[in-house]
């Protein structure tokens, strides 16, 4: 009586067994080891503080807006993190001010929490201590070699955010043509630009993938017209591990996503 259920055409898909152990293998559940690798110089991305010229010492806390954990921040999405199976950050976007050291701690802690979870458990997690109190949740998805983690407060719908992650990844997939971890490694600025069209200042800006892609394309065109050079490099294509490959597509929310993932499935 209220309205024609316009979105009800979509049925929640039954869960199918995941294909291919190679792509969706659970992460090595050795958090301690992973952490050690990441921090202790042995080929990791961690840094040895003493060798790096930096302004101000790491002991001195940054003045100003260092929010203590638990205090309400101003954003609904507190942070968006992407890191790989070894905890190396591929993108970090904080919508609340934290010092670089805290940011790294948060990334490590989040990786620690997320990486020890099995593949087929729920995608919600409480207990990130650094990035806020009881109101906050980590909502993540694991795609091939990458974790996409959103830290949100209670004003966001959990399932909505899960879909948003899916939209994000599929948008990346469209913009990079079969996105893989290497795209994210070498074009982190582009990933930032795409993200900026979806989430702004911690609030969801746009959820329609086509709209996002249109804007990104227009901006790329503008960029191209400014400099003749094309920035996109294709030499990594052959070594790619596709992020979306073998991923089960499930949506809790939006119909446009469903149709998009339909296309995608056909494409794969």
């Amino acid at each position: 009586m209220l309205r024609a259920p316009a979105w009800s055409c979509f049925r929640f898909p039954p869960r199918r067994p995941r294909p291919g152990p190679a792509l969706s293998k659970p992460c090595p559940a050795a958090p301690g080891g992973a952490r050690a690798r990441a921090c202790a110089g042995g080929g990791g991305w961690g840094r040895i503080a003493s060798e790096i010229p930096r302004r101000g010492s790491c002991a001195r806390p940054r003045p100003g807006p260092q929010l203590p954990p638990g205090r309400p921040g101003s954003a609904m999405i507190k942070a968006i993190l992407i890191f790989n199976n070894h905890g190396k950050p591929r993108l970090s976007k904080f919508y609340q001010p934290y010092s670089e050291d805290t940011q790294q701690q948060i990334i490590r802690e989040t990786f620690h929490l997320v990486s020890k979870r099995d593949e087929n458990v729920c995608n919600f997690l409480e207990g990130g201590l650094l990035i806020g109190g009881s109101d906050n949740k980590l909502i993540y998805r694991h795609y091939a070699t990458l974790y996409f983690v959103f830290c949100v407060d209670s004003s966001e719908s959990e399932l909505g955010i899960l879909d948003l992650i899916q939209v994000f990844v599929e948008t990346l997939d469209k913009c990079f043509e079969n996105v893989c971890e290497l795209d994210l490694i070498f074009h982190v600025d582009k990933v930032h630009n795409i993200l900026a069209e979806m989430v702004m200042g911690g609030m969801v800006l746009e959820t329609n993938m086509n709209e996002i892609v249109t804007q990104i394309d227009a901006q790329n065109k503008l960029e191209k017209s400014e400099s003749g050079r094309s920035e996109i490099r294709n030499q990594f294509r052959s070594t790619k591990v596709k992020v979306l490959a073998g991923q089960e597509l499930q949506s809790y929310n939006c119909k446009e996503l469903n149709s998009a993932s339909g296309e995608l499935r056909r494409g794969l």
Partner: protein, 1204 residues
């Protein structure tokens, strides 16, 4: 050549772009840090170049390094340079870097203001977009203030891409610069109906977030959101709105009722899981907010629980998790409905997913009862054994303790079992919750007297076992239980079987490895044990053994004297000297046991955690007075109350007479009171009302009265928790047989009467009463403990600043700061300037303008009033949210008439302004003109209504009369009672949704100079009418008024009454009791009143169409009655307005001096009236489905008319 080299180097640098940097880092895995420091040096070189492309490239690389954890704030200025590049490519890089590393503390941020403003007004939408995106990440209060106006303009940009970003960023601006909220809000509201779905969604997003923090200011938007909810198909928007309604319903229960139906429909119809989940969540919130109003809400709860069960049973772990999460919300209010799904919850406890297990644990809290507690805890204990991660195990541990200790150990029938559980939990290694277990042990041992013997025996084994002491070296806190064990063994040493052995255990050298505070407790309790042993030995006349014990202490205590912990050391050396002294006395054969045990005489009682805070200040004790004149300023004020209450028992605190210089003291007192009154953190206390009746003013003690309640429970003695479960069945059976015997026992015990405990028999729901008596001594609270203070809102909450009333019309001063050139800033605002210019010309226009302003103000007022009416009306109509457009009778005779009049005025206000340029029309002409306008607009407004009255009829004349003789202000509130303190007025209102309930709105006005608080309303219920009281209170309890009244303030409270029959009027006697507090002290006052429920108050203004009205009259099943009143001079128009207003009727049709009116009672009786006006009289003929009701209503109407 040289040029070539330079060029080459530039190229090389230029070539090292982000990709090269990344590749370089990947290739230098061995010495990454060194490589990066090299790169940073290069970047610094690049930043020094003039070429903006090189700079942008450098900044881009810095952004990457920032992600890896390098501080790049040193490059802030360069980032700003890149931000101000003209090319979009570079600008974007600059803004990205800024958004990653700028924050409120960045000092150069103030340099960006003009750049950002320029970008915001750039013709390229992407320049604007990128500036908005960047700004959203680093907006500061200064930037917000300076740019608010620019952003507001962007909210109506032609491109939806910009609009949505501008709308979204407004939220950030509001947070940083709350003053901007009111000026910007109207435009934000407009955006809710923007044609672009993205902009609409952004506006919903922002308003929802604002409303979530301060919901009450956004209630008036509910109709708009309701419309959106029923019309939008965007699930993202729907989810936000539904979440918002969840926040609004607690404030407005009527809203909840309106929502239930559309939400249930959505639940049934949607297939989007996210939407379904949010709907269920909001329905839960609605049901929580409606305490008992809905007769059929159990159906909704059932629906929610069913849907949640489907979610929980789903194979998708996410849905399972959320289902459990929502279920726990239902649990809080409707535990019964959830308990039905116990099987499901227990099943989830075995889930492999930890998050799900944790959520299931939350639910368990509400699932336990006396019957199944042991079983559930047993299950949890097996989980504890299996659990791998310490976090989950710790969570299990706290949950076990939580569910066992909830509501004063309500579900525990056997405390021996509980103690064994606690002891078993101590075997957990590496837990963080040792102190929790310890606290439980102490609590149970102190509060459950009968368990002490058993507890002591268990604790002494704990002290004996070595593993706990050993664990102290590890990082776990399990050794904390030794603190409890030592204290219990010492304090209740009379129950110890082998005190000597325990004493030796506590004096083992290994003990010194324990943390200091535990050692201190050991030392203290060693002496308690020692005292007990001495007594024992002396009674047995075993002087030899007594001396041996003393010797043992003298030998072992020095190990504590060397303790690193100050407290342990201090206590040990004190006690060592004491023991040495005792040894000397023993050598002379002096009996010492009595004296030593006198050290620990007396029993300790549990005191409620807040008891100290709640001790009322006794009459005559002035905490603010100096005890001694202060020596220096450094003396802290806070110390004084502490000094007074320093003694362990407050009752011993002596009042110290205030000294010296009364005047000075009075002055200071006043000042301090002022300060305290203004200090939100100061917990204001006041002497209790009863205090007044106490005789002497110089009370020399603070009275403390025990409110000891003991709950009789019985348990058989059996160790090991597992065995208890098996025994439980037998035991209960046996108990049933023993019941009579037990009763006798109980009585006996009561006669013996414990010194301070009076037993109170609570009937256990399942009638499980054990064989051994266990008291739970409740914690002591001082007499007249002040009611618990509500937690104040965190003053640091950034959202507090946004608690702004948005319905209030904008004042002229409320404008966003607009950038001006410095020279114009000195002059006044342009509007003022105009005024002065005009003033010079002539005086008349000025008056005009004033008038206009007045009108505007009125208009605003009107609008506000309308809004209130709108919301109420919207809420009171039945679901299909039909806008009350074409015919809105009811209030209309009273309200719409002046409204229309004013609308006319508004219109010609505009025209007047135009005419201003020509010549000013005469006053009379204008009036007529106005009248016509009024007519016209009226006709326009009600096109569907009966044919407009013919010209020359009575109508225009009366309309004119109305203008000359405006309606007297009418108030439906009538006086209830009044005394020197308080004035009560009230109004009774029914609603069609609740057929047997009326709401009494009571305005309480403080007429005195005292502060009125603790107001409580009580009414003597009659058979027919009852006051709805909160659940669980008896019919004699009063209903507290939810506010306090400072002098001169009035506030409105609402009470719901349940009415059986509405055909006759009735009166209820009642009392309002309150405490009046002023400088002299406080008094307990009360005011009696009689609530009069007239039959009119059961009528609800209901619109009725004339054809339906005619049918109703024709149907013939209405009884008829009539009444006539003489001597009425009032105009017919006003008369009708009065009837409409006071008697809740609506005009159906009006012809000349004859009108038909309609109303409906809350129980559905139709009441139809035909009102005819003669020369000086009015006759009212009524028809109603209930003759008694009709005659009563007419009687009441007669009274009203007689006053006209």
């Amino acid at each position: 050549m040289a040029l070539k080299m330079v060029k080459g180097s530039i190229d090389r640098m230029f070539d090292k772009n982000l990709q090269d940097l990344v590749r370089g880092i990947r290739n230098h895995k061995e010495d990454e840090a060194k490589y990066i420091s090299q790169c940073i040096d290069e970047i610094k070189q690049e930043l020094k170049q003039d070429n903006i492309a090189v700079k942008a490239n450098a900044v881009c690389k810095l952004t990457y390094l920032q992600m890896l954890g390098y501080d790049i704030s040193w490059a802030a200025f360069n980032i700003i340079e890149v931000m101000s590049a003209s090319k979009f490519t570079f600008k974007r890089i600059g803004y990205l870097a800024a958004s990653q590393c700028f924050h409120e503390g960045t000092d150069v941020i103030m340099l960006t203001t003009n750049q950002i403003r320029k970008d915001l007004s750039s013709p390229s939408q992407y320049d604007t977009g990128v500036a908005l995106t960047g700004l959203s990440c680093f907006v500061t209060p200064d930037l917000a203030r300076d740019l608010a106006n620019d952003i507001m303009t962007l909210m109506s940009h032609t491109k939806p891409y910009i609009r949505k970003k501008a709308v979204l960023i407004m939220y950030k601006v509001f947070l940083k610069y709350p003053e901007s909220l009111r000026p910007a809000f109207p435009r934000l509201k407009e955006k809710l109906e923007d044609p672009d779905p993205g902009v609409q969604s952004a506006a919903v997003n922002v308003i929802c977030e604002l409303a979530r923090r301060n919901p009450k200011n956004y209630l008036s938007l509910a109709p708009l959101f309701f419309k959106l909810m029923t019309s939008s198909t965007n699930n993202w928007v729907l989810i936000k709105i539904i979440k918002l309604f969840g926040a609004l319903t607690p404030l407005e229960p009527r809203l909840g009722k309106k929502l239930i139906e559309p939400l249930t429909n959505l639940i049934h119809s949607t297939s989007a899981m996210s939407l379904l989940y949010e709907c269920v969540n909001t329905v839960i919130a609605v049901l929580i907010s409606l305490s008992s109003g809905m007769p059929n809400h159990s159906a909704s709860i059932q629906l929610c629980v069913q849907k949640l069960r489907i979610l929980i049973e789903d194979s998708d772990q996410n849905l399972k998790y959320l289902g459990l999460l929502a279920m726990s919300k239902i649990l809080r209010t409707h535990p019964k409905s959830v308990q039905a799904h116990k099987d499901l919850v227990l099943q989830c406890l075995d889930d492999k997913d930890e998050s799900i297990r944790l959520r299931a644990l939350d639910l368990l809290y509400g699932m336990v009862s006396k019957k199944n507690l042991m079983e559930i805890v047993k299950k949890l204990m097996t989980h504890v054994d299996k659990a791998e991660g310490t976090t989950y195990r710790d969570e299990l541990l706290t949950k076990i303790i939580d569910i066992c200790s909830q509501s004063n150990y309500q579900h525990i029938t056997n405390f021996e079992w509980y103690i064994s559980i606690l002891v078993e939990l101590t075997r957990l290694e590496g837990t963080r919750h040792g102190h929790l277990i310890a606290a439980q042990m102490l609590d149970v041992a102190i509060r459950v007297k009968a368990i002490r013997r058993f507890a002591v025996s268990q604790m002494s084994t704990l002290l004996d076992s070595a593993h706990l002491v050993a664990s102290s070296t590890q990082r776990s806190s399990i050794c904390e239980v030794l603190y409890a064990a030592a204290w219990i063994c010492g304090e209740f040493s009379e129950h110890l079987q082998e005190p000597q052995q325990t004493l030796e255990a506590m004096l083992r050298p290994k003990v010194t490895t324990l943390p200091g505070h535990i050692q201190a407790v050991y030392v203290q309790n060693v002496v308690k044990l020692y005292a007990a042993i001495l007594q024992q030995k002396e009674q047995a006349a075993d002087a030899q053994a007594a001396q041996e014990v003393t010797q043992l202490l003298v030998e072992r205590l020095p190990q504590f004297v060397q303790s690193a912990d100050l407290e342990a050391q201090e206590r040990a050396s004190c006690i060592l000297q004491l023991v040495k002294h005792v040894q000397k006395l023993q050598a002379r054969d002096v009996p010492v046991a009595e004296e030593v045990s006198a050290l620990f005489a007396g029993e300790l009682n549990p005191v409620a955690p807040k008891a100290q805070k709640k001790v009322p200040v006794p009459e005559g004790l002035d905490l603010d007075a100096w005890i001694n004149e202060p020596l220096s300023d450094s003396e802290s004020e806070d110390e004084k109350p502490k000094a007074i209450f320093h003694d362990e028992e407050p009752r011993h605190a002596k009042q110290r007479p205030p000294e010296a210089d009364e005047q000075e003291l009075a002055r200071r007192r006043e000042a301090r009171k002022q300060e305290q009154a203004n200090n939100p953190f100061y917990i204001k206390s006041s002497p209790s009302p009863q205090k007044r009746y106490q005789d002497a003013p110089g009370v020399d003690h603070i009275p403390v009265v025990q409110i000891d309640l003991s709950v009789p429970l019985k348990v058989p003695g059996m160790p090991m928790s597992d065995q208890y479960v098996k025994l439980e069945e037998e035991r209960r059976h046996r108990q049933r047989l023993e019941k009579d015997k037990r009763k006798r026992k109980k009585r006996e015990r009561e006669r013996r009467g414990a010194r301070r405990h009076t037993s109170l028999h609570t009937e256990s729901d399942e009638d499980i009463t054990p064989a051994q008596r266990v008291d739970i001594v409740t914690e002591e609270m001082p007499e007249n403990a002040l009611p618990s203070d509500e937690d104040d809102k965190d003053p640091n909450d950034p959202y507090r600043a946004l608690d702004i009333d948005l319905d209030k019309p904008l004042a002229d001063s409320e404008k966003l700061p607009v950038q001006k050139h410095r020279d114009t800033e000195t002059s006044k605002s342009p509007e003022r300037q105009d005024v002065t210019v005009v003033e010079k010309k002539s005086k008349k226009p000025k008056r005009k303008e004033k008038k206009q302003k007045e009108k505007e103000r009125e208009k605003k007022k009107k609008k506000e009033a309308e809004k209130g009416v709108d919301l109420d009306f919207w809420l009171s109509t039945t679901p299909p949210a039909a806008t009350p457009a074409p015919e809105e009778p009811g209030v209309n005779a009273a309200v719409t008439a002046p409204k229309e009049e004013r609308r006319g005025e508004e219109q010609d206000a505009g025209e007047d302004a135009e005419q201003d340029l020509e010549k000013k029309p005469s006053e009379q002409k204008k009036k007529k003109h106005k009248k016509d306008k009024g007519e016209r607009s009226k006709d326009k407004k009600r096109p569907k209504k009966r044919a407009p009255p013919r010209e020359g009829d009575a109508e225009p004349v009366q309309n004119g009369a109305l203008r000359e003789e405006p309606l007297p202000p009418m108030s439906s509130y009538s006086l209830l009672a009044e005394n020197s303190y308080i004035k009560m007025t009230y109004d009774v209102q029914g609603s069609l949704q609740k057929d047997s309930q009326v709401t009494v709105s009571m305005v309480l006005e403080n007429q005195s100079s005292s502060f009125l608080k603790n107001m409580e309303l009580n009414v003597l219920d009659s058979l027919n009418a009852r006051l709805a009281r909160p659940e669980g209170s008896s019919v004699h309890d009063g209903v507290p008024v939810p506010f306090q009244l400072p002098p001169g303030i009035s506030n409105e409270a609402q009470f719901v009454f349940t009415i059986q029959s509405i055909v006759t009027a009735q009166k209820l006697k009642g009392t309002l009791s309150f405490i009046a507090k002023n400088d002299e002290g406080s008094t307990h006052e009360k005011l009696d009143f009689k609530l009069h429920f007239t039959c009119t108050s059961y009528l609800v203004t209901t619109p009725c169409y004339s054809d339906a009205f005619a049918k109703l009259l024709e149907s013939g099943d209405l009884s008829m009655s009539s009444v006539k009143v003489d001597g009425i001079s009032m105009s017919f128009q006003n008369l009708l307005a009065k009837i409409c207003f006071h008697h809740h009727f609506s005009v159906v049709e009006r012809v000349d001096s004859c009108a038909s009116m309609y109303s409906r009672s809350i129980q559905g009786h139709h009441v139809c009236l035909l009102v005819k006006k003669g020369e000086k009289s009015v006759s009212v003929d009524g028809k109603c489905s209930d003759s008694t009701l009709l005659s009563n209503v007419l009687e009441e109407m007669k009274e009203t008319l007689a006053k006209c």
